[in-house]
C-alpha cells in the first residue's frame, strides 16, 4: 500500500495508436503516445492502480501508479575502451617521442 501524500511516478496513454496523426512514421503509428509525470499521491493506493497526483505546479494529473519515491538511474554507462585509445593517440601525436619518455 502506498500512502496518500507520497511522491510518486504515474503513467498514462495520451493517444491510442488509432489516434496518432497521419504525419508520424508507420512504426510510431503502431504504438500509443505515452506520458509520465510525478506528484503527491492523492489517495492511498497500490502499484498499478489508477490514481491522481498533485504535481509541483499544483495540477492534478491522473494515471497508473508506477513507482514510489522514483529516482534517477542514468549513469556513465559501461567502460568504452576506445576512449582511452583516443586519449593515448592524441597525446602521443602531440607530446610523444623519445624526448618525452
Amino acid at each position: 500500500m502506498v500512502k496518500k501524500g507520497e511522491w510518486v511516478l504515474i503513467h498514462r496513454i495520451v493517444l491510442e495508436p488509432a489516434k496518432r496523426i497521419p504525419q508520424v512514421p508507420d512504426d510510431t503509428k503502431k504504438v500509443p503516445l505515452e506520458l509520465w509525470t510525478k506528484g503527491y499521491l492523492q489517495e492511498d493506493a497500490n502499484i498499478g492502480d489508477e490514481v491522481s497526483v498533485l504535481t509541483r505546479t499544483k495540477r492534478i494529473e491522473k494515471g497508473t501508479l508506477l513507482e514510489v519515491n522514483p529516482y534517477y538511474k542514468h549513469d556513465f554507462g559501461k567502460f568504452v575502451p576506445e576512449l582511452i585509445t583516443i586519449s593515448e593517440q592524441v597525446k602521443e601525436i602531440l607530446f610523444g617521442g623519445a624526448d618525452n619518455e
Partner: protein, 466 residues
C-alpha cells in the same frame, strides 16, 4: 462547461492558446502574404542589446570567458598543410547559470513572463533549454513545467534527455515526459491552456534576442584581446536560434566574421520514428533538426519564428557522430576540459576547418555545455552499443547513422563536409511557395531574398524553375 480536450479540438484552439500564452500578437507583423516584418518583430517584441545585458547580468547569465585551445590547434597543425591551422577558441557558455548558452534565451523569455504578470512558464524541450528555463524561473519565483520527448515505446529513455529531466527537477521544475512523436505539441497546448502560463518558446523574439549578447560579446572580447574580430564564428545548428541570435549580435557589433553552421550528420534517421529514437547518439545539433528548420523556420511552436538561420549562414558543415566523440575525448585529454556534445559538434567542424585556414586566422566555437551522467561520450557510446549500434575505429566516411558509429583511426580522418547552402536556399523558397499558394508580391520577393541571404534575381530564378 469544461473544454473539449480531444486532439482535434485542442489543435483548433491553437491560435488562441498561442496568443494568450506569448503575449505577442504576431498578426500585426504580417503582410497578408508570404512576407512578414521580421525586423519590426525583433524590435518591437524583442529587447535592445543594452536591456538584455542588464537582464542577463542580474541573473547569472552572459560574460562567459573565451578560452584558446592551444593544444587542439597544435594537433590540427600537425596534420594540416604547411602554414595552415587557424587558432581555435571556445566561448565557455557552460559557465552560464544552468550550464549552457540556453540560459541567454531563457533569461529574456522568463523576464518577459514575469513582466507580463504570468504565474508560470511552460517549455516544450528535450534539451538544455528546459534547465535554462527552470533556472531562470527559480530566480524569478515563477512556476515551471518542462515537456520532454524522452522515451521509446519500450520505455527506454535517452540518457541525455533523462539527465536534462533530472536537472530541471533539481531546479524546481515539474517535468512531463512523453514517448516519441510530434503530438507532444498537443499535450503542450493542453498544459498551456490549463495553467494559463507563459509559453517560454525557444523561438519567440525575446528568446532569440537573448542570444544576441553572445555574438556581441565575442566581437568585444576579441577586439579587446586581439584587436580584431574572429575570422570565423562557428555555431552548432539545430532549430536555428543559436546561430541567428549570435549572428545578429555580431552584426550589431559591426563584426564581419564568417558565420559557419555545424550539425552532426544523422541523415537517414526519421526524427519521429519510435524505433529509431534510441539509435541516435545526439539528441540535438544534428541535421534532423538543422535542415528542416533552416529551410522552413515557421515549423516551430510560434506562428513566426525569430530563428531564421539561412539569413545569416555563410557556410554549413556537417560532421559524423564518431568524429564528434573523438574530438570530445581529445578536448578532455589535451585541453583538460570536459564538455557536453552540443559545442563539441561545432568544435569538430572547427578542427577540420582550421586546417584550411592560415595560422594567423582565428575560429571561435561559440558555445560549450555542461556534461554529466547521461550527457557524456562514455554513456552515449555505451548506450549506442546496448541498442545494437556497432562502435568501432575506421574511416568516419563509412558511418551510417543508426547502424554504426565510426571513430576515426587518426585525427587526420576528421573532415567537415559542406552542405549545399544554395540548395537549402532553393528549398526554403520552394517551401514558402508551396505552403502559401499565392502569387508572390514584390514585398514577398524581397522578403525571400532576405530569408535566403541572396537577391531578388535569385528568388525569381528559383520560382521560375518550380
Amino acid at each position: 462547461m469544461s473544454k473539449d480536450l480531444s486532439y482535434d479540438a485542442v489543435m483548433a484552439r491553437r491560435p488562441e492558446i498561442m496568443k494568450n500564452s506569448s503575449g505577442i500578437d504576431f498578426s500585426i507583423f504580417e503582410s497578408g502574404s508570404i512576407a512578414f516584418d521580421y525586423e519590426r518583430m525583433m524590435k518591437e517584441a524583442g529587447f535592445s542589446i543594452e536591456e538584455i545585458q542588464k537582464i542577463q547580468s542580474e541573473n547569472g547569465v552572459g560574460n562567459t570567458p573565451i578560452i584558446e585551445l592551444r593544444n587542439l590547434t597544435a594537433l590540427a597543425r600537425k596534420i594540416a598543410p604547411e602554414g595552415k591551422g587557424a587558432r581555435i577558441f571556445i566561448k565557455d557558455e557552460a559557465a552560464n547559470a544552468s550550464g549552457s548558452f540556453k540560459a541567454r534565451r531563457a533569461s529574456t523569455a522568463v523576464y518577459q513572463a514575469k513582466k507580463l504578470g504570468y504565474k508560470g512558464v511552460v517549455s516544450a524541450t528535450s534539451g538544455n533549454y528546459g534547465a535554462a528555463v527552470a533556472s531562470q524561473a527559480a530566480m524569478y519565483g515563477l512556476k515551471c513545467i518542462v515537456v520532454q520527448e524522452c522515451y521509446d515505446s519500450r520505455g527506454v529513455g535517452q540518457p541525455e534527455i533523462i539527465e536534462k529531466a533530472r536537472k530541471c527537477e533539481a531546479l524546481g521544475a515539474e517535468v512531463v515526459q512523453l514517448s516519441v512523436g510530434p503530438e507532444l505539441f498537443y499535450t503542450f497546448l493542453t498544459i498551456l491552456e490549463e495553467t494559463g502560463y507563459f509559453n517560454a518558446s525557444l523561438y519567440t523574439p525575446f528568446a532569440v534576442a537573448g542570444v544576441e549578447t553572445l555574438g556581441y560579446e565575442i566581437a568585444m572580447q576579441f577586439r579587446e584581446k586581439f584587436g580584431k574580430d574572429p575570422d570565423v564564428v562557428m555555431a552548432t545548428n539545430a532549430g536555428g536560434g543559436n546561430l541567428t541570435g549570435t549572428a545578429r549580435g555580431l552584426k550589431k557589433a559591426g563584426a564581419q566574421s564568417q558565420i559557419v553552421a555545424a550539425s552532426v550528420d544523422l541523415s537517414g534517421l526519421h526524427m519521429a520514428s519510435d524505433t529509431q529514437f534510441n539509435k541516435k547518439s545526439f539528441t540535438t545539433g544534428h541535421t534532423g533538426f538543422g535542415m528542416p528548420y533552416s529551410t522552413w523556420p515557421d515549423r516551430s511552436d510560434v506562428p513566426r519564428s525569430a530563428a531564421r538561420p539561412l539569413r545569416y549562414i555563410d557556410r554549413y558543415l556537417t560532421v559524423h557522430q564518431g568524429e564528434v566523440f573523438y574530438i570530445t575525448e581529445a578536448l578532455a585529454s589535451l585541453e583538460g576540459l570536459e564538455k557536453g556534445p552540443a559545442g563539441n559538434t561545432s568544435l569538430t567542424a572547427a578542427f577540420a576547418l582550421a586546417q584550411e585556414l592560415d595560422q594567423d586566422q582565428m575560429i571561435v566555437v561559440q558555445e560549450t555545455e555542461y556534461t554529466g551522467a547521461g550527457k557524456h561520450i562514455q554513456p552515449q557510446l555505451s548506450f549506442a552499443r546496448d541498442n545494437g549500434i556497432e562502435v568501432k575505429f575506421g574511416d568516419p566516411k563509412d558511418e551510417v547513422p543508426g547502424k554504426n558509429i565510426i571513430l576515426p583511426l587518426h585525427p587526420s580522418m576528421i573532415t567537415a563536409n559542406d552542405a549545399d547552402v544554395i540548395h537549402m536556399r532553393r528549398s526554403l523558397i520552394k517551401n514558402y511557395i508551396s505552403n502559401y499558394k499565392v502569387t508572390p508580391t514584390e514585398a514577398d520577393l524581397e522578403f525571400l531574398a532576405a530569408e535566403t541571404n541572396s537577391n531578388v534575381e535569385f528568388v525569381k530564378e528559383v520560382i521560375a524553375s518550380l
